[in-house]
């Protein structure tokens, strides 16, 4: 579906942008706030190529970006002219009106953009997406073969395969997901819950709706899965699972697609592990057809509280940052949504997940409160301290308290 475009893009003849000082600009200040991973480093470097001739480009790339973005963009003039966001972190900027509509700038400078790069809210372009991400399955073909199991396509298969690997004495804990208590664990719940097709909130309201049979089934599935994870699973974030994978401790794992490039390169692991590492789409479960995953995009926004001149300079510089040349030089660092991208092995998992109809992570303003409540409350159930119903009741109570304070619920 959406990803056919990527495949075609590689074969198409494309306009190529050349980086020259100023990028055709004569003045303006570009100040970038973004997360800190290789793909956005590449984008920021592309934008920095526009520095010179009266144009200044500065950047702050930090994993703490979402904690400072609201304060930094509230000041007038804003501390940063662009915030690089994902579909969850754009929400507070939208809710506070801190980013500006980009329709004019897109019309003037955005001819090279694909239509699916435009993130529109109520018809207005609010962000330009440049890469996609999703959690999906990673597996070791050699170990599955040794255990005599097929590639899992459902989480029931994953459990069966893990059981077979354990029974064959190959690994005691063959499976892992990012289950670190807090944000990561909540993300796994959301992904799994999406596989049921049920909504997280009652339609049209901010009322929670996870304390139901779908929620209970989701929790039970997670509990069955972590039985095949190392007992330390509540401390596993992406860095931990990637390290476990690269050291050959895992046979099957659900991890972020954006880690694929790093896991398939020749650093940090042995040739035996890398050559057998395979990526496939997120599994379905419970007889459902929707992959148990959420789709994420990363994109850039332009601050509201800056001069139009700086906004234009920032847009042009960021467009240079997400140019086809940049993609050609950094093809395997991400699943780019940009023309010129040639999907490689690292992109297969995300592409399959998206093509199988996974849903995007909700951009609703109260989803953050739900995510936090899930992250804090469901570990009690996984550890056997309370029932699934009790855990979900706690989630809804914690969410309701937070949502009331944020003004979403009365």
């Amino acid at each position: 579906m959406y990803f056919k475009r990527f495949a075609m893009a590689g074969t198409m003849a494309l306009m190529s942008t050349t980086a020259y000082a100023g990028c055709g600009l004569t003045s303006g200040s570009v100040r970038i706030l973004s997360n800190d991973f290789p793909a956005v480093h590449a984008v920021a470097e592309g934008a920095e190529a526009c520095a010179g001739d009266g144009v200044t480009v500065s950047k702050n790339q930090t994993a703490e970006h979402k904690d400072i973005q609201v304060a930094a963009l509230t000041s007038n003039p804003a501390q940063y002219t662009t915030a690089v966001v994902a579909n969850s972190s754009i929400v507070p900027l939208l809710s506070d009106g801190l980013i500006r509509p980009l329709d004019d700038l897109v019309a003037k400078h955005g001819q090279s953009l694909n239509k699916n790069q435009l993130v529109t809210i109520d018809g207005k372009v609010m962000a330009i997406a440049f890469m996609a991400n999703a959690q999906h399955l990673f597996y070791r073909s050699d170990i599955l073969e040794k255990a005599g199991v097929d590639v899992p396509t459902t989480y029931e298969d994953v459990i069966a395969a893990s059981k077979a690997i354990r029974a064959a004495g190959i690994m005691e804990y063959p499976f892992a997901l990012n289950t670190k208590s807090g944000w990561n664990l909540a993300e796994e719940f959301v992904n799994m819950y999406m596989g049921t097709g049920a909504p997280i909130f009652k339609a049209g309201t901010a009322e929670p709706s996870v304390n139901n049979e779908h929620g209970v089934a989701t929790l039970n599935m997670l509990k069955e899965l972590v039985a095949y994870s190392n007992p330390d699973y509540l401390t596993y974030d992406s860095n931990a699972t990637q390290a476990l994978w690269e050291s050959g401790e895992l046979a099957i794992a659900t991890m972020w697609g954006s880690r694929g490039g790093a896991m398939l390169d020749d650093e940090g692991s042995s040739a035996e592990v890398v050559s057998a590492t395979m990526l496939s789409g997120a599994p379905t479960w419970g007889g459902g057809s929707v992959p148990a995953s959420t789709l994420w995009w990363d994109g850039f926004t332009i601050a509201q509280n800056i001069s139009d001149e700086d906004a234009e300079a920032t847009f042009v510089a960021m467009m240079n940052g997400i140019s086809t040349d940049m993609v050609k030089a950094n093809n395997d660092k991400a699943v780019w949504l940009i023309n010129g991208y040639v999907p490689g092995k690292a992109a297969e998992g995300i592409a399959q997940t998206a093509n199988a109809g996974a849903v995007p992570y909700p951009m609703t303003p109260f989803m953050g409160a739900m995510h936090t409540a899930l992250g804090a409350e469901i570990s009690d159930f996984l550890q056997g301290k309370e029932s699934a119903e009790q855990a979900l009741m706690d989630v809804e109570a914690a969410y309701t308290t937070a949502a009331k304070e944020q003004g979403f619920l009365k």
């Binding site: 979402k66 809710s95 993130v119 049209g204 401390t235 804090a376 550890q383 109570a397 914690a398 304070e405």
Partner: protein
Amino acid sequence: MPHKTFLWFILPSLAAMVLFIALPIFSVFVQSLYVEHDQVLITTENCGPFGCKQETTVDVEATQILKDQAPLGKFNGFQTYSNRSHLAFAELTQAWSTATNARDFFGQILNLPFYKALAFTLTYTFVVTPFVIVIGLGIALGVNALPAKIKGPTIFVSLLPMIVTPLIGSLILFWMIDAQGILGATLQRLFNDNALSLKASPSLTWVMLFVYGVWHSAPFSFIVFYAGLQSVPSETLEAAMIDGASRWQRVRYVVIPYLTPLVTFITLMQLMDNFRVFEPIVGFSASANATSLSWIIFNDLRGQDSQLFGSAAATSMLTILGVAILLTPVLIRTWREFNSKTV
């Protein structure tokens, strides 16, 4: 000193205290009485790389009007203090009326975030503080008895746990106790149990955090006691030796009475510090098994895309209240001693 001179004398520090301590606390208190305005929600069609979808969004303009009218937010009084994330009065009442026995009642209470955190915070404070004092005194006595040549290096090494930044120290230990780490793997071999994990079991996590707390704070009490030991009069010690007192008796009847004021000092500092335990919980990724009041504040401010300022402020005020209650007995004791000396 005449009162007027005294006033001028302390004015600078008084001003600094008002500016940097009293005013911020007052502002946090004011913040804790407010919550965000009711958000005006609308349904819009949002499109992105993965297609279009009807979603709920905030009507920025309508909400902005509300915000401009009252920039502090919506006045909520003490309701943030009484909600489920804090003192949870409604849930307590319900637990009281539905609980079948005391165990069930406490089970329900400890399921509430604030009380869960309070339980760990208090246990941590009351386990770590005495250990820190006893072990610190032990190290100080030991080091004091060393020959002068190796004293310097020993003191330096003993201080290392305090010199290392708490977060870094806990991360180092976190990796060492990993199932693949040197301590974790050794423990698994010793007990011949592959499922033994210091990170997974709630009670072992607590023990690990206590051990870390003692490891980190013992140098502080060591260095204070060590300084105190230098002031113990050698005449009294020599007199005790002539009277035939053993080393233990000298410590018990001469050294410890001299160091009692320092014990009060260290107790005060440790009660305050340990009640605000935070870094090890983050460093050890222990939030599934142990949360503290400071961790709740952190989670309100950094756990999600937008911050819960009112909630964090309320927990902060409750933490200050908790510290005040904890310190009261020690302060009363010090006050009495002070008075008895001046008379």
